[in-house]
Symmetry: C2
């Protein structure tokens, strides 16, 4: 691409560095900003700068936070004896959006994946084990993606926690709402048969 | 979406205002920036701010520019008697990328489209007519999208320029390279037959 302006070119290159944004999309976004009111673009740039400078990670659950402890961990209305273990912050937002969970979280920051060079030491596992030892955690709910790496991570943490007598569960795997039985893979269908639920419980939900 | 951080929420909302970026994509982009080095994000924000504050439009051709006159208009190696009329800056970049055109441009900033409330007065048509009157323009090449609105715009400008004896052409419309005849619409096929090219010229190209 040939640009008549180096300011334009620099801005396009910055946007094109974002994941999933190619040069053409970057150009479209930048030309949109050029057309906008200067004050709006000012607010865009400053919000991004402020976000990166001031954002923190919760010291307790590693979730993104404005303060040292996030709004979920500092909320006394939530059940602190229940910890939902997730891979990343997006998963926290997804579960919060269901409005069905009232416990706290622990963000691992990834899952164990030797092929990608991610071992247990790169994740926030030590912190989780410290939490279980020091706080009165009674149940750990694993909400990891149903992959080999997810299962490995669950297995590893569960082994580490064997000395502690806490309840360890994982979210149910089965046929998604609106999904079709005939297109489900055997693994999912087999698991959903194994973990079948009494109908009265199912209906109450 | 429920956010545990207002800084995160603000940044996601800013990104989600960009065209074609929804909340989920915005979140992905912002979380990517959170993971990046602070200096890289600083450079991102500052480049965007600088771009919007300092960018100018060429006083001659309305292209985006770092100075009052763009690098194409101020280049004495280019043929200033030839002006290619385009709808927007993206089209200038597309034509420049072919490296086949050595004239100058004129960016209309849109096309005449009464249904969208765009009349000739909102476009840089007056400036183009002034250019033709004052500068030694010999050929005007219209490179507008082949739509009714594009054709209307060509017709309008051509009428306005009738007193001046200049060459007015439009880029060829026909079967695209790699396209298939049987899938071409009748209009395109009919035009490509009408405007057939002697084979020797075609081969030389």
């Amino acid at each position: 691409m040939q640009f008549s302006s180096s300011l334009l070119e620099d801005a396009v290159n910055e946007f094109a560095r974002l994941p999933g944004i190619g040069k053409k999309t970057a150009l479209r976004l930048v030309l949109h900003l050029v057309k906008q009111d200067a004050a709006l673009v000012q607010s865009f740039g400053e919000t991004v700068l402020k976000m990166r400078q001031e954002i923190k990670f919760c010291q307790r659950c590693c979730n993104i936070s404005d303060a040292d402890v996030c709004s979920i961990c500092s909320n006394s209305m939530r059940r602190h004896e229940m910890v939902c273990v997730v891979e990343n912050i997006r998963d926290v937002i997804a579960i919060e959006s269901t409005q069905q969970y009232n416990g706290t979280y622990h963000v691992l920051g990834g899952i164990i994946s030797p092929l990608d060079g991610v071992g247990p030491d790169q994740l926030n596992i030590e912190l989780l084990i410290n939490r279980v030892q020091k706080e009165n955690v009674q149940e750990l709910i694993f909400a990891l993606n149903p992959t080999i790496q997810g299962d490995t991570t669950i297995y590893y943490i569960q082994k580490k926690l064997q000395p502690h007598s806490i309840n360890i569960t994982t979210i149910a795997r089965g046929i998604a709402f609106g999904g079709e039985l005939e297109y489900a893979d055997e693994m999912t269908l087999a698991r959903s048969l194994q973990n079948r639920v009494p109908v009265e419980r199912f209906v109450n939900y």
